[in-house]
């Protein structure tokens, strides 16, 4: 645990240093690529959050509103929680990101996909579920967050029973 604490502190310091560096650079032309690179970074903090609300906040810094334009395809009952096929599709325009969360998992955020312009807002993947839980899909479109959720019953858990 000391290891984790140490590296988390170190990361905070590094992030702080990065922020200072960015401010210092002001409006220099290479600021834009620097920010783009930052967007490609792995969202480490979001993948540590226990609850889905904390994970969404860490990932996007805002809250999602339910939308019937986000369509999730998930089984009613998953016999094996280790492999639950979930897919999502949306009619929303300007989608930039799609994330999958499971409320009852030890870490709520499962996967987050970046959707560049020209890529269709449809994603299918397979996730693990510890037990019967709500599965939440968050779609970022035009700078706003939309969500859909569905309860999936799990017969055998996928996180060690």
């Amino acid at each position: 645990m000391t290891d984790v604490g140490f590296s988390a502190t170190r990361r905070l310091i590094l992030q702080g240093a990065g922020a200072v560096a960015l401010v210092g650079l002001g409006n220099l032309p290479f600021l834009a690529p620097a920010l783009a690179a930052a967007n490609d970074k792995y969202p480490e903090e979001a993948f540590k959050a226990k609850s889905e609300a904390d994970a969404i906040k860490a990932l996007y810094g805002k809250t999602a509103e339910p939308s019937d334009k986000v369509k999730m395809d998930a089984p009613e009952i998953a016999e094996n929680g280790a492999v639950v096929p979930i897919s999502v599709t949306t009619t929303l325009a300007d989608v930039t990101s799609i994330s999958f969360l499971v409320s009852e998992n030890p870490v709520a955020l499962v996967a987050s996909y970046k959707i560049p312009a020209g890529t269709l807002p449809n994603v299918a993947n397979r996730i693990k579920m510890a037990r019967t839980s709500n599965v939440i899909v968050v779609v970022e479109a035009g700078g706003k967050l939309y969500s859909a959720n569905k309860e999936v019953k799990v017969t055998v858990g996928g996180c060690g029973g």
Partner: protein, 103 residues
């Protein structure tokens, strides 16, 4: 060594559908082995797809993605015979890259 990544990219003319299947344990760090000892976390953190020098899809994954992960998406454009580059990196810094021809 054979690649851990299997990709199928199919062009329908307007869009290219991509399916990828990767061999990886995707250990979440929450599961115990038969002796009751925690299996350390070992999972792919980032998977990227590049076409024509541009990123077309990035997956950020946690330990909650199933073992031997599968993902499907589609992007506009993509010509038959062109190459799609796929790379991943896991939480231990291991990495693999492959290229697939669009069919």
């Amino acid at each position: 060594m054979a690649s851990t990544i299997r990709v199928r990219a199919t062009s329908s003319g307007e869009t290219t559908e991509v399916q990828a299947l990767i061999q990886h344990p995707m250990d979440s760090g929450f599961v115990k082995d038969a002796k009751g000892e925690i299996i350390p976390a070992h999972f792919i953190q980032q998977l990227t797809f590049e076409y024509d020098g541009k990123n077309v899809f990035t997956a950020d994954w946690g330990g909650g993605v199933s073992k031997d992960p599968y993902v499907k998406f589609a992007f506009k454009g993509g010509k038959k015979g062109d190459e799609l580059k796929v790379s991943w990196v896991d939480n231990k810094g291991a990495t693999d890259t492959t290229t697939a021809k669009i069919q």
